[in-house]
């Protein structure tokens, strides 16, 4: 999949973030194109999760700009709640609403935020649950499900808002090994449907196979990026070489 001439969905310019005395992001520049799957890899503490969480302002950047569909997220007057509806987020720890059934987890956003009718929201929810293979668990509560199932519901919940981009923050890191596959399969299917995805991950196989572009972040900057074939077979950056030698 090529994205060379496609429209830019998220433009990140000189993104910086520091917590108290630690500078986590030291100027990140990247354009994310429509329909592109970007895998973000890097050692722990490199700033890759912070980078992702800045994209929908879960973390407030301390410098730089993020332009999403023409709106500058870092501008104080931007309505972030409205823009977040267009950016689905999937967390490492699922974070399904514990007080709601699976179905309600999927319908609450469309109904309360978008004003969708219950009937319509439930129809959409059931269709999405079918897509992630969990239509039969609509009435279950999150606590009754396995991690892999919860994460698939979390993906469906994000999709229920019909977002333009999906952000994944290490979606398989909290899963038992035998459940990683089922979640990656859902993500793979999503990628094949040309959903724009930014995926912070430790799954090198997934990055190599599914991503259009792999980005290596370390020490708060993008050290190297490129198409997966070249990125993995012929890394230039010394840090990336060291990293890959440890994880591959």
């Amino acid at each position: 999949m090529s994205h060379a001439n496609q429209e830019v969905l998220i433009q990140v310019k000189d993104l910086r973030k520091h917590f108290k005395h630690v500078e986590v992001l030291k100027g990140i520049d990247i354009d994310i194109h429509k329909g592109e799957v970007v895998a973000v890899i890097g050692p722990s503490g490199s700033g890759k999760s912070t980078f992702l969480r800045c994209l929908n302002l879960l973390e407030q950047p301390t410098g730089g700009r993020i332009i999403f569909e023409g709106s500058d997220l870092t501008n104080k007057n931007t309505n972030i709640n409205q823009l977040r509806q267009k950016m689905g987020m999937v967390f490492q720890s699922f974070n399904l609403f514990a007080n709601m059934t699976v179905l309600k987890n999927l319908t609450i956003g469309p109904m309360k935020i978008k004003g969708m009718k219950q009937e319509e929201a439930e129809k959409l929810a059931m269709q999405l649950l079918g897509r992630v293979g969990l239509a039969d668990r609509a009435d279950a509560y999150p606590i009754q499900m396995s991690g892999g199932q919860q994460q698939r519901v979390a993906i469906a919940r994000a999709l229920a808002m019909q977002p333009d981009v999906m952000l994944f923050d290490e979606p398989t890191s909290a899963l038992d090994p035998e459940m990683v596959r089922e979640v990656l399969d859902v993500m793979k299917q999503l990628a094949s449907e040309h959903m724009t995805m930014v995926v912070v991950t430790h799954e090198m196989g997934f990055a190599r196979e599914v991503a259009d572009r792999v980005v290596f972040i370390d020490e708060g900057v993008i050290q190297e990026e490129g198409a997966p074939e070249k990125f993995f077979s012929n890394p230039k950056n010394q840090r990336l070489k060291d990293f890959l030698s440890k994880v591959l």
């Binding site: 929908n56 879960l58 104080k76 709640n81 409205q82 977040r84 509806q85 950016m87 689905g88 987020m89 967390f91 720890s93 974070n95 399904l96 609403f97 514990a98 007080n99 609450i108 956003g109 309360k112 935020i113 978008k114 509560y141 606590i143 009754q144 979390a154 919940r157 994000a158 808002m161």
Partner: protein
Amino acid sequence: MISAEKIVKIWESYSAFYWKGLTNTLWIAALAVVLGLVLGLLIASGRMMTVKKDENVIIAIIKSIVKFICIAYVEVLRATPLLVQVFVIYYGATTAGLKLPDATMTRMMWGLIAVALNSGAYLSEVIRSGIGAVPGGQMEAARCVGMNHWQAMRYVILPQAVRNILPALCNEFVTIIKETSVLSMVGISELMFQAQSVASTTYIFVEPYIIAAIMYFIIVFTLSKLISVFERRMSRSVTR
């Protein structure tokens, strides 16, 4: 020696007296917890306010002052005895002329307010920790669906916090039932006061209080057991 015979005799003559006292105790305790809950909610929200970096200076100052008052309130009320609070409020208010036409009603009102103010301080901490016990990821996930802060509180955080708070709230009611006994010191005719009256009428000074103790015990013990059954059932439930 404690005499069972005396207990029976006193009960036979004065049971209506005790029942009246118990009724007063229960409704004062119930009202105090309800008022305390409202107050506790306000104080907890005051304490949980955060001043954002880019906030208007005046709003930031007001927020800080409100927050400070709420913290001071909780700390002062938790670090002084209820009896002292009841005296200060009751005598303070009546000395200032804040009275109802009826003296009994005046006592009841200020006694109730004193207990409610005290309960509010404790309940604000119960509420705060109940909300704090909801994992942070729940708020983040709600915000990521596009909810604003208040929608997230309403649909996601508070329903979960209520489950954390409810058992502690019931326990607060049980505690208050016992603590209202200090209101006898300002002449409110709750259970303890009634026992005192019986003692001073009959010149019997142990058995009247034994009866009060038995009544407190039956109520408090039963309620505590009910609460723990209820708590166990909640913790087994799947809808956390």
